[in-house]
């Protein structure tokens, strides 16, 4: 990715609070139309990084450019829209008033912005006060606010936490449409399972360091996590299978084996040679949580690349 094509460039950014290194040497780019998920535990530095991109915090080291400008500059703020975790609005105002207000702050005609309430499914609630909204409705209003004026970069801090599964799917459908229109999307999340299928790329932050950056498929392959094969033996055959293939005996009749992804076909082939001893076989690929845990733990044990 070259400098001309990235809407957001983060290069060697470091932030220190007192004696805590909140971010260390974090670098990545986001291109127009790309959806990138930033994953990390609470305290991994996701919100701190967002605050740097918005210009609220000045990094002690490294450089960030938003649409070619410094974070917080007028041009950068015109290009970015932000949806904070736990979005809040003045409780006494209605949805329509909030959208009108933010449209004016963003120099957009409110008449162009108000249809966004329909897009997020709040057209019925537009005249009600935000204080009466549910958490999901506030989050939808936050998304509508973030979409005002067709931003080049959407910064969404844990946007789907607290949404029910249906709302979550609708949320990602809107994000997809916005990205197809050319906007870059950077969203943060706790869990890889949350963002699977919804983003093009993921970056994993752990204790302020970037420990992974790539597609889920590439990260899964690079992690080389073992595949688990569970064999249910026929009556009295468990010991024989265990002697031959090794592995772990469980539940009296089952044996659990694990193998490298590359050795999967070979192992299954050898198992089928003994099919008269085997009642059933289950193959479990490493889950997304396993992959996420692998990268997070690798940083904690100190061999981050």
């Amino acid at each position: 990715m070259t400098a001309e094509t990235s809407i957001l460039e983060i290069d060697g950014v470091g932030v220190t609070f007192a004696d805590l290194k909140a971010l260390q040497d974090v670098s990545f780019d986001v291109a127009p139309g790309e959806k990138l998920a930033l994953l990390g535990h609470n305290g991994a530095g996701k919100s701190t990084l967002f605050k740097c991109v918005l210009g609220f915090l000045k990094p002690a080291a490294g450089r960030i450019t938003v649409a070619g400008d410094a974070p917080g500059s007028d041009h950068a703020r015109r290009s970015v829209s932000y949806l904070p975790e736990q979005v809040a609005f003045p409780r006494m105002l209605t949805g329509i008033e909030i959208i009108t207000y933010f449209a004016r702050l963003k120099s957009v005609d409110p008449r162009e912005a108000l249809p966004l309430l329909d897009l997020v499914g709040l057209s019925q609630a537009g005249r009600r006060r935000v204080g009466d909204y549910s958490k999901g409705m506030r989050q939808r209003l936050g998304l509508a606010q973030a979409l005002i004026g067709k931003p080049d970069l959407l910064l969404l801090d844990e946007p789907t936490s607290g949404l029910d599964p249906v709302s979550r799917r609708e949320f990602y459908e809107i994000i997809d449409r916005v990205a197809q229109g050319g906007a870059a999307v950077l969203l943060s999340s706790h869990a890889l399972t949350e963002v699977e299928g919804h983003v093009d790329r993921i970056a994993i932050l752990s204790k302020g360091r970037m420990v992974a950056d790539g597609t889920i498929k590439a990260l899964a392959e690079a992690a080389r996590l073992p595949i688990t094969i569970r064999i249910k033996a026929r009556e009295g055959q468990a010991d024989a299978l265990s002697d031959r293939f090794g592995g772990k005996r469980i539940n009296g009749r089952s044996v659990e084996l694990s193998c490298e992804p590359a050795g999967k076909v070979d192992l299954v082939g050898r198992l089928t040679e003994r099919r008269e001893e085997i009642d059933d076989i289950d193959i479990a690929l490493p889950s997304l949580d396993d992959i996420y845990r692998f990268y997070s733990n690798r940083a904690e044990t100190g061999d981050a690349a």
């Binding site: 609220f56 703020r77 970015v80 006494m92 105002l93 009108t100 207000y101 963003k106 120099s107």
Partner: protein, 277 residues
Amino acid sequence: MSPFTKIGAVASIEFRVALRNRWLILATGVMTLFSLALTFSGAGGLELKAGILTLAAASLATLSVYLIPLIALLISYDSIAGEVERGTMALVLATPISRGALLTGKALGLIAVLAIAIAASLTISSAAAIFAYGMDMSGLAAIVRLGLTGLLLGAVFVAIGLMISVASPRAGQAAAVAIGVWLVATVLYDLALLAGILADKDGAFTKALFPYFVTANPGDAFRIFNLAGLENAAPVSGLDGIANTLPFSANYALAGLFAWLVAALAAGYFQIRRLTP
């Protein structure tokens, strides 16, 4: 779209929030009650040859010094610290509005609340007095002057309240500081000046320093300017009696109020530029 549109948007939202939080109705109600009470309690002194509204203006000038700053601080202390605490400020600061425009808009919205409260209360009490006792043209001019300078006094304390709100990490702390500032500015400062006069044996303090000290306080400056405008038509007492013998024009008191407004807004602007939501 010009920056004025954004300032207008902030001012209008600030005004609506104050309206829905019942601040407007509360401020207007309290001020109307007090101005009615003072207007009609002053009516007993009508044999002093001063018109009813002139007497009312004198009493109101004394009371407004406490009431207007209190209401101004109450509506402004939460305006920024509260938004930071409730998490609504980060979204606003992420939009392309300058921090100066944000502060200006908030100040204008809150000053509009005060303007309505002051105008409504003075209109109601003056209309009632004119209806009961007849017209008093010079008194009416005094009431208009009182209203306009009262709004300036309110603007000064809105700016001070916003400055406190920007500088406070929590709304609760901003409230405590605002009450402290009100107590010092309206009560303790004058008490200290009185103590200075009483302890002043040869009159050096009273002659040389007191006029400047008293004019430097926004509340006292407001009162001096209004009472000087009444040209001794109404009875005055205490600090104001001494203040009537100022060695300079009372217009300097008005200039002092403007200086306070500019200084408080500048201090607020300096602080809000460094605000991290």
